[in-house]
Amino acid sequence: MTQPSSEVLQKLTPVLTKRWLSPDAYKIDVYQRLDGYAALRKALDVHPDDLIQLVKDSGLRGRGGAGFPTGLKWGFIPQGDGKPHYLVINADEGEPGTCKDLPLMTYDPHSLIEGAIIASYAIRANQAFIYIRGEAVHAARRLRAAVDEAYRKGFLGRNIMGSGFDLDLVVHSGAGAYICGEETALLDSLEGFRGQPRLRPPFPAIAGLYASPTVVNNVGTIASVPYIVLGGADWWKSMGTEKSSGPMIYSLSGRIANPGQYECGLGITLRELIELAGGMKPGHQLKFWTPGGSSTPLLTAEHIDTPMDFEGVAAAGSLLGTTAMQIFSDQDCPVYATWRWLEFYHHESCGKCTPCREGNYWMTRTYRRILSGEGTYQDLDTLMDTADNIFGRSFCGLGDGAATPVMSTLNYFRQDYLDYIEGRTAPRLSSKALVGAH
């Protein structure tokens, strides 16, 4: 294990993770002693439009993957339209590799609640929902208790802190469907239906929950808001890069000495993050990695100096996604890894769009054949063709997410596929797995 240099250590930006060091910060009294609910008091003292402008000025972009400017999204909500407005927080964390929202809700739930109240005030919503992943039971336990506390203290409910502003907040548990992390599928699920994505437009800002104007934001986005309200837009922009401002929680996992959550300014590189994480695990050489979960095209050792911000990763041919970096070494097989991700996408495809539903079924079987030592050269063409027919041909990003590891591994690691086909790599799956293969 190596020690990080002081230059790299200075890239750490403990903002959203800072209270995690206080074991009792989930309790409202402790939270309040640590600057908690000070931002709410400050926010309720200004006009909602000025808050939207503040968030626009901060350059905050969505932390859920797409990186859409948050202030702009809030500004899309039509005001004075006479319709109810809703804030829906996407806490359906499930993108493989991502583990930043669950600890945030577990160890600092009030920061999310405070952000939710401020955001609701800004967009003029009187009802907000936190749609939390069903499996996230401990985070939900803490969050529900925190919501109860916030009601008792008068931060939720009627006439919040004497402002005349009313807000109800409901914590709604999902039931085990990855697709519900997609915002329109989430809305359908919250309305009590199967979680299937909607065709856009109309966008949720116009016709979201119950066909009313709705902002859907990720946990990290909303939890950032109180800090921006307190510290100001200029302070926020002192972290990150010009176009990707602020701190970001990077989830590092896999073949590194110290996996974990590292909050740094946007734009840090994988080389620097690995240094913070104590280097690679002894005996392992970096081979491939996901920049932002398994739905983002894989990158390789040659991309180790790519700035991890929205622009930098896009320039390298991938996506920043959820900054979930799963790090694999020369001892890991990219063909096997891709197969396992595909089984996941196949299972989680909601079935609405034919390319995603059928294509993933087909690709998992082709992979099983290759990994069983029965693959042919033609299988590689079939895979590329199938992935190409899924990509961009489904309502939501799940199909794209499934196609990207296939295309990126075929691009970077074709030799690993050929090694199975030509018998240089021992089969990883038994021929039992071939049942049902074409």
Partner: protein, 254 residues
């Protein structure tokens, strides 16, 4: 919705006495006219009694929401956490998604499966344990992970630690999980999933966060790294008064 004058079908009848009151409480959380939003929590609720979504459970949800059984069934079959067959006291899930898989999760799954003598989505003959492989459980920095009733039970699991855990569960112990509250039964967990607080003493407290969760922030603390120039009193530019006559929100009558 306060109308309790619901005409329950014969199929739903066994659940009405125990579940009607909490069901109405759940429905009341959602805006008037949007009762169907309560369907997911209601399906969790019926699992508190039966451990799975039975035809009675489907009928109960349909009757209480005034929708038909096909509409409920379509939703119940879509989501993984609604079980279609009776389950054991404990649901043991091993993550076998790529990262956990390659860090040893597949070996944990295979050996535990052999030890229990059941495969994915199957229950042991003694009715204690339902076993499954799970997709990414959002704890990759602790890989491979095993959950029991969705609470993180073992971090950096090995086949040995997983087998030891299930043996404790089968012996009637309720071991402390690696993170989270002490384990209850799967049916008890469904009560929380339906949106009710965990009222058990000490359910919320579980000590500090795990080492991987705190790695970055601990490094920063050890080396005195903080973000400079944070002033919580930084003024917000005001272009208009905070309140223009009363409530700033669009009034929503509940």
């Amino acid at each position: 919705m306060t109308d309790t004058n619901i005409d329950f079908s014969e199929a739903a009848a066994p659940l009405v006495e125990k579940l009607l009151a909490p069901a109405l409480e759940i429905i009341a959380r959602y805006p008037a006219g949007r009762e169907r939003s309560a369907l997911l929590p209601l399906l969790h609720l019926v699992q508190t009694q039966e451990g799975h979504v039975s035809p009675s459970g489907v009928a109960f949800c349909a009757d209480v929401l005034g929708i038909n059984k096909a509409q409920v069934g379509a939703v119940a079959t879509f989501y993984t956490m609604y079980k279609r067959r009776p389950t054991g006291d404990y649901l043991v899930s091993v993550c076998t998604n790529t990262l956990c898989n390659m860090m040893g999760g597949q070996r944990v799954y295979d050996e535990l499966s052999e030890h229990l003598g059941v495969g994915h989505d199957e229950t042991t003959a003694d009715g204690k344990i339902t076993f499954e492989h799970a997709e990414c459980l959002a704890a990759c920095d602790y890989a491979p992970v095993v959950t029991v009733n969705y609470d993180f039970a073992i971090d950096e699991a090995t086949p040995e630690s997983a087998i030891a855990l299930v043996e404790k569960l089968r012996n009637g112990e309720r071991p402390a999980p690696s993170r989270g509250a002490r384990l209850g039964s799967l049916k008890e967990m469904q009560h929380q999933l339906a949106g009710f607080s965990d009222e058990r003493d000490g359910a919320l407290a579980d000590g500090p966060a795990g080492t991987p969760t705190l790695r970055g922030v601990t490094l920063a603390q050890q080396h005195g790294v903080a973000v400079a120039n944070f002033n919580p009193d930084t003024p917000i530019a005001k272009t208009k008064p905070a309140r223009e006559g009363g409530n700033t929100g669009n009034e929503v009558k509940k």
